[in-house]
Symmetry: C2
Subunit: 496 residues, 2 copies
């Protein structure tokens, strides 16, 4: 199947790499050289899932830790590259990758080297309060890592600890910016009424402003971020939330190229509604937050035209535009940032990241988004230098191995294979989506939850999103030979 | 001054150590042996503060990072034990310790060893989504570290990334527990109205419940935690907040032993008001959160009787009792947890931690505080095993060197010295507080901000809290000889 697919798609394996790399004739014949030399050749499952050792260990863990969301207990000492090994020695091809968070493979040697340095040890044991006592080399760490990866037009970063933290601090920046505008600029002091009312959580000091998000969005689970999350009731039930608005997110028909006109109309409808809400919602909207591809919410796509339109709406209504790249960022869509696909005229105001970056935070460009006084955007740790050092090593690995390009090409190849499967088994693979979006691919499955469980029995670790989507989130070192294995296993599962 | 103080206080240095440790006559004569053999003997300041290298580096850092809260740029490679070294080679006795977060000294060898293991490297580079794919040894890491340190009566832990994160997840646990009670137990499903309304941030799905905190409290800076923070307007201005109530925190007179009756009355007044609010506030109170000593808010103390009374109130009103030990926890008050001072009849429902633990989360005991379904208290990382491994090493170091006991005894010694200074310079040291609370000591200074800046010029790194307090937050390895240096430097500053 593999070579047939390659020939049909006319993908030249050597195209996965920079022109400066050379390949033996043999390697061209059998596809690009693997990034990970010592990976297993294929998954192997020796026991029922979960196996006996997993069951015993889970029981022990349950005494101290909630295991109801447990998938498996992993043996990370044996896991390598794209392969995750469980406690019973079962070897899984991992296309879920710690909920889309492992970028360059388990036990990546370059990362291991970065983790085994005096610099890293100091970052771990002498953890600074970054806002007060940064290390002398913090500027260097930021410049050679986080800022090298910064989205076009954004040259500043505020570091945080998780995706929720990144989004909430971005929201705070947006609220402070908005109120500063309303007051008349950074030099106008707070009023006495603001000082007093803020202390009792009342306006004007604690203003009745809002962040607009989209239906089915996921932006995190702390109180501010959860107020913008609209993915599933189980994420939100019983938790107080802010009275903030949601706009409809386009419900597109797939494949996109067969529904161009109606999808464009649907996007237009959603844009109009978004602008209406911004103009009319009773708690004024300070910022719009949106994911380039709604991930937890079910892998919902929209076109560059939609996002360009949304950018225009935020501009003309003086509302900030926050792009949440927590799941889409760092290469998975075949661009380093998914919003690079949009060709925006002006960059987003704030771009948040976490997951594959292994650290978190937000990028911005407008200096006015630094609050007008110190200690307004502040906390004890403000991120973690150890994780920022790790991100630098990840970035180096992505650059030196050209992994974003690999993901784009492998993604096209994989998508082609899935298209063939979808034609052969239209009931099993519905609404295939993610064409041209690297390996950020999903489809709807009629028995999704069962499908995911069964996938483990054939050695594939795979995740879901939304109500019925199977979502692929392989690492950036996922190559054609992994795609071939995945396609073969998927067909086995569908046939069964 | 040092020996005079020791003799006045009748502190026997050897009492700092477990009875099983033996000391040479010489070491008894000159005080306990230092925990850190290679520490500087004293601070040394060579340049104006900030020195030329600090100034140049700060300018460079400012291009990419907000430096308005910068104290100094540190050279952690040269810092050791209680001494922080800046980029110009100035050596500071550090009694601020990264905003109360470094427990066992810079470049602690035991921590360095723990950071330099294959286990740590894997935890860094193969970071798991803990709720789905914990490592096989996660249970062991939790049992041998976090749970060994667990407060009495609490045998479960939920791990998080920061103090704000810890508090907010504790609040979420409290809200879910409360709504579950109201529904009639864990087996009663959510109603259709709850499912629907949660998705649009409205009750009953997003209930109008509240967390009650205290005036001057600090519990973090994300949206839920910030709604319970009442320390300073600058922390809260321009950020939307929940309509949650605050109770008065006792405004005690110091020294406590000279104002017993009026302080008891003040505490009684506050307790009555707290109970009234719990009974009457329009958004029903699901939990009360309180710090054992209000830290950011100005080092405000209350008696064990106050906290016992508060615990009783929460019990009889069916409200959860959350103790925020983010700043007080892990030994600084001379007990491992500050609430150990209270002798509660029943333990707190939830105890949150961060800072000196170098990881974060909340402890609990009641199994019903695990939500009734999976994925309700969940996020991608749910903490960081690398930091949990570090906490285990910190705990081992505290135990093996008996550092909580050291802190209790050194704290008494230091407090005695400060009492003498306060008698000598009553204008400079007002409202001295923290007697019997380890080294968790503070006083009010008429020119506090200036005092803190000047302290650096004599080689002491020291922090403030509230409007006018100087707060001491030395590490747990702070010993009598450090206290002697600190007292001498303080007197120098006051005289100047």
């Amino acid at each position: 199947m593999a070579s047939a697919l390659r020939s049909r798609l006319n993908v030249r394996p050597a195209a996965c790499f920079r022109a400066t790399r050379s390949f033996s004739t043999a390697s061209v014949r059998r596809g690009p050289q693997p990034f990970v030399a010592d990976e297993p050749k294929a998954p192997s499952v020796q026991t029922a899932i979960p196996g006996p050792k997993n069951q015993a260990a889970a029981k022990e863990l349950d005494e101290v830790f909630d295991i109801r969301s447990l998938n498996l207990l992993a043996d990370y000492s044996k896991s390598v590259g794209n392969y995750l090994v469980d406690l019973d020695g079962n070897v899984f091809l991992d296309v879920y990758a710690q909920i889309a968070s492992i970028p360059v493979g388990y036990n990546n040697p370059h990362l291991a080297k970065a983790a085994n340095t005096p610099e890293m040890i100091r970052a771990l044991i002498d953890r600074p309060a970054l806002g007060n006592f940064p290390s002398a080399d913090w500027s260097h760490i930021v410049r050679t890592g986080l800022l090298k990866a910064a989205p076009k037009g954004l040259n500043q970063v505020f570091t945080a600890l998780s995706g929720s933290d990144a989004n909430e601090t971005a929201y705070k920046a947006a609220f402070m910016y908005r109120r500063q505008q309303e007051r008349g600029g950074p030099d106008v002091d707070f009023s006495e009424a603001e000082y007093k009312s803020a202390m009792i959580n009342q306006s004007p000091g604690s203003p009745q402003l809002s962040i607009m998000s989209f239906k089915s969005a996921f932006h995190g689970r702390l109180f501010g971020s959860l107020s913008t999350t609209r993915s599933k009731p189980i994420h939100k039930l019983d938790i107080p939330a802010f009275d903030w608005p949601q706009a409809p997110f386009p419900a597109l028909k797939y494949p996109l190229e067969e529904h161009v006109k109606e999808n464009a109309e649907e996007e237009q409808r959603c844009l109009q509604e978004a602008e209406r809400i911004i103009k009319e919602f009773h708690n004024p909207v300070a910022a719009v937050v949106v994911e380039p591809i709604q991930s937890e919410g079910g892998d919902n796509h929209a076109s560059p035209a939609f996002f360009q339109g949304l950018r225009d709406i935020t501009k003309r209504n003086n509302v900030l535009f926050i792009v949440d790249e927590v799941q889409t960022g760092v290469g998975a869509t075949g661009k380093f940032w998914a919003h690079d696909h949009w060709n925006l005229q002006s960059p987003p105001d704030l771009v948040t990241f976490s997951k594959k970056a292994q650290t978190a935070g937000y990028y911005y460009g407008n200096p006015a988004l630094r609050p007008n006084k110190p200690y307004r955007q502040f906390n004890t740790w403000m991120g973690d230098p150890a994780r920022a050092i790790l991100f630098r090593a990840i970035y180096e690995e992505i650059e030196s191995k050209d992994l974003v390009r690999n993901t784009a090409i492998t993604g096209d190849y994989l998508y082609g294979g899935l298209e063939s499967l979808a034609k052969k088994y239209p009931h099993a693979i519905q609404n295939l989506r993610g064409k041209g979006q690297g390996t950020f691919i999903a489809w709807d499955s009629p028995n999704r939850d069962e499908f995911l469980v069964k996938a483990k029995s054939v050695g594939v670790n795979i995740g879901g999103s939304g109500a019925s989507a199977v979502r692929l989130r392989p690492m950036l070192i996922f190559q054609q030979h992994h795609a071939d294995i995945l396609l073969e296993k998927l067909e086995t599962l569908i046939k069964a």
